[in-house]
């Protein structure tokens, strides 16, 4: 059983740890899903359908990238998997709002 200190040390000195860009790249990317969580509380009319669709393609591509890059970057994979989920949710909200709009005008 590793002690807490040993775990912290192995994280700190990890070849993909906080002393490396392999950590900070994904870390800064978390800004996108976090901003999206904030946006889920806003009304669906404020959603930009085009940008949300772009984000869906973007995160799908980067999930694949995170898996194939050397060294494999699970942190990045989780970040983009989260964003993909959130963006698809936002897209469904946008689609419902637009569907309702069309039905209302008929």
């Amino acid at each position: 059983m590793k002690t807490l200190m040993e775990l912290l040390n192995s994280f700190w000195n990890s070849p993909v740890g906080p002393k490396t860009a392999h950590f900070w790249g994904p870390a800064v990317n978390w800004g996108i899903p976090i901003a999206t969580v904030v946006d889920t509380r806003k009304p669906a009319e404020t959603i930009n359908g085009r940008m949300t669709t772009v984000m869906c393609v973007y995160s799908a591509l980067y999930m694949r990238f995170a898996w194939m890059v050397q060294p494999r970057n699970i942190h990045l994979l989780i970040c983009h998997a989260s964003n993909e989920t959130l963006q698809l949710y936002q897209l469904s909200r946008w689609a419902s709002a637009h569907g309702a709009e069309e039905r209302g005008s008929k």
Binding site: A21, G25, V28, N29, G31, A35, R64, F65, M68, V69
Partner: protein, 106 residues
């Protein structure tokens, strides 16, 4: 001669048969959307968003040189992101601080 070079590009480890090509290539679309926003009035720009874009660009430029395969496509798109982010930040700062100076004089 040209055919040999084209073949080398086609078969490159970060070439068009791989995710290492398509992920950064798609990201250019986002930078281009940013450039379209150069004509947006500074009041409509968001400090958190532009800081995030700039920070992402800088950190990812470094990240793209330490991964395997080294990815110059990814490097250049992130330099562009950092550049457009910095430009947008300077526009907004100049607007906010020159307006304050004008108001303070009154």
């Amino acid at each position: 001669m040209a055919a040999a070079k084209l073949q080398a590009l086609w078969n490159h480890p970060a070439g068009p048969k791989t995710i290492h090509f398509w992920a950064p290539t798609f990201k250019w679309g986002i930078s281009i959307a940013n450039i379209a926003d150069f004509s947006k009035p500074p009041e409509k720009l968001s400090y958190p968003q532009q800081i995030a874009v700039t920070a992402t660009g800088i950190i990812w430029s470094r990240y793209s040189t330490v991964i395997t395969p080294k990815n110059w496509n990814l490097f250049s798109v992130n330099i562009a992101m950092a550049g457009t982010g910095l430009y947008q930040l300077s526009r907004k700062l100049r607007h906010d601080y020159s307006s304050e100076a004008a108001v303070a004089k009154e």
